[in-house]
């Protein structure tokens, strides 16, 4: 009996630090996002006592549906493009041997380690009217000299795909590395075309990796804030920008909470769907590769 008790004690000793820390500083703040949306703002940028439904009424403003719609479609297109590009990349890396596989994998992981701000800034320089992309495209007569590559939804999309792509490649690669490629060969021996065998054998074989990749791209994409802030301009704004404006420009925390509560709900829907589909053991592998 003493052994059972000490095992339980050990478990609690090891679990408590992270459990308490994340409960107080992650779970509680997330719940507060919902609660404070129903508080009235005060004059000092905080919130007063009492409860109100005013924030909900404010959120019915006509400018919000446009931004919400843009946030959703930009995130969806980003996810689709990332998956379409990550599947062949994951397939290619998984088929490489030894040293080359290591090198390619390192090259995919490296952007994770470089400063996020620096990479977005690099795109701002590239897309700038004086940047090389604009100059080359004008030179090739693909675009006119008046076309702006910066400060629109297209620029946001380009930089989002660039930023989130490694998050899609890694889980798809992890699934493809475990995939038995003899199955594809068997399908081809039995008369399937190359593309047919790819779609009907390889894709279902790495399906779990694809689902993880969708989650890893779509959810953070919904909350994008810096990318639209730096390359988006007003026509590329997303919900994240509105939240930041309510916090830093108007100092209206309840209003920011209301928008954040909406974003939290939008994020929870795909997460719950995927959590139901995947159990805990299968959700983890991406991070082993990432390390």
């Amino acid at each position: 009996m003493a052994k059972v008790n000490s095992k339980k004690t050990n478990e609690w000793l090891l679990t408590l630090p992270s459990l308490v820390w994340l409960f107080v500083l992650f779970l509680l703040p997330t719940v507060m996002i919902f609660a404070i949306a129903f508080k009235p703002p005060d004059m000092y940028g905080g919130f007063a006592s009492g409860w109100t439904l005013n924030t909900l009424k404010d959120l019915a403003q006509p400018s919000y549906p446009i931004i919400i719609w843009r946030t959703i479609y930009l995130s969806l297109i980003t996810t689709i493009l990332c998956i379409l590009l990550a599947v062949p990349a994951g397939y290619c890396i998984a088929r490489l041997k030894g040293k080359w596989r290591q090198i390619f994998l390192l090259l995919v992981v490296l952007p994770f380690w470089t400063s996020f701000l620096v990479r977005i800034f690099a795109w701002k320089v590239l897309l700038h009217p004086d940047g090389i992309i604009k100059k080359s495209l004008v030179f090739l007569h693909v675009i006119g000299p008046d076309t702006s590559l910066l400060y629109n939804a297209g620029a946001v999309l380009l930089v989002m795909v660039n930023n989130f792509l490694p998050f899609a490649i890694l889980p798809i690669y992890a699934a493809a590395a475990k995939f038995d490629f003899r199955l594809v060969e068997a399908a081809q021996d039995l008369g399937a075309h190359r593309f047919q065998s790819f779609m009907k054998v390889f894709i279902p074989g790495i399906w779990r990796g694809i689902v993880t990749a969708i989650l890893m791209v779509f959810i953070p994409a919904l909350g994008s804030y810096i990318i639209p802030d730096i390359v988006g301009g007003t026509s590329g704004e997303m919900i994240g920008n509105k939240i930041a404006q309510r916090v830093f420009t108007d100092r209206n925390l309840p209003h920011a909470s209301g928008l954040s509560a909406f974003l939290t709900l939008a994020v929870l829907v795909p997460m719950i769907i995927v959590l139901i589909m995947q159990n805990r053991k299968k959700a983890a592998p991406i991070f082993e590769e990432e390390a």
Partner: protein, 257 residues
């Protein structure tokens, strides 16, 4: 059977897509021109200016202070969390795993605003301390996942054998766990350190007056400042992270052999 070249071509184009902006930025940091549209000769002028930029050095100090504190705390909490997750398969650990996994996928901006509301609600002054606490909060999950990955072939019986032979918890931790787990702990620590140094979104929400970190400084430079200076600063940052990656890769290879 002939293999299709298409996946390889796509993969190589993607790598160009990843690295082209960064390469242009590094090259421009050595460009004497004030606006990076044309090459006006090799120059170190921007690095020279950077080293005499007092505000940047103050930001570097803040950043390193926060990163060291956040790394130490998150490595301790994240490692114990990984041990618990690896060792026990109970209902408590299922909830524990959820609590550790969710911060990894939730958008940073939600964590930032949540922490801001929390600090405002309890009346805590925003500053270096609130930034450090916030960094620990998101680093715990990354450290726990990295250490958990390293734990897959760790046999917990060693710990139980030591305890049966009368070893105390500190002795077990110091003489068994830390030596065996050190590659995982070091790569977790490097990840936490780089994440803390790099974090902008969460830091932006919980920073107060006088607690400007390097990413906050870079952001205000991007918004209002001189591009060549950011190029030079970015190149130095890239070099630092590159060294961190090489170290952690070497550690992992040693661990595998």
């Amino acid at each position: 059977m002939k293999k299709s070249r298409l996946p390889l071509i796509i993969t190589i184009s993607l790598l160009v897509f990843f690295y082209l902006p960064v390469i242009v930025l590094v090259v421009n940091s050595f460009n004497a021109a004030k606006f990076g549209s044309s090459w006006e000769g090799f120059s170190l002028i921007w690095y020279h200016k950077l080293f005499h930029h007092r505000e940047i050095w103050a930001a570097v100090r803040n950043t390193l202070f926060i990163a060291f504190g956040a790394t130490v705390l998150s490595v301790i909490i994240g490692t114990t969390a990984a041990l618990a997750l690896h060792r026990f398969q109970t209902g408590l650990q299922k909830a524990h795993y959820m609590l550790i996994y969710t911060p990894l996928v939730i958008p940073e901006i939600l964590m930032g605003i949540g922490l801001l509301l929390f600090f405002v609600a309890i009346g805590m002054q925003l500053g270096l301390f609130t930034i450090m606490i916030s960094h620990v909060t998101f680093c715990i999950s990354f450290v726990a996942m990295v250490v958990l990955g390293r734990l897959q072939n760790f046999d917990y019986a060693v710990v139980e054998a030591a305890q049966d032979l009368g070893a105390s918890w500190p002795a077990v931790a110091w003489r068994i766990l830390i030596p065996l787990l050190s590659p995982g702990i070091v790569s977790g620590a490097l990840l936490a350190f780089t994440l803390s140094i790099d974090d902008f979104v969460i830091t932006f929400f919980v920073a107060g007056p006088g607690s400007t970190t390097l990413p906050l400084r870079i952001y205000s430079m991007i918004k209002h400042g001189s591009p060549p200076l950011i190029n030079a600063l970015s190149t130095i940052l890239l070099l630092v992270t590159f060294v961190a990656v090489v170290i952690s890769q070497n550690l992992m290879e040693e661990d595998e052999t």
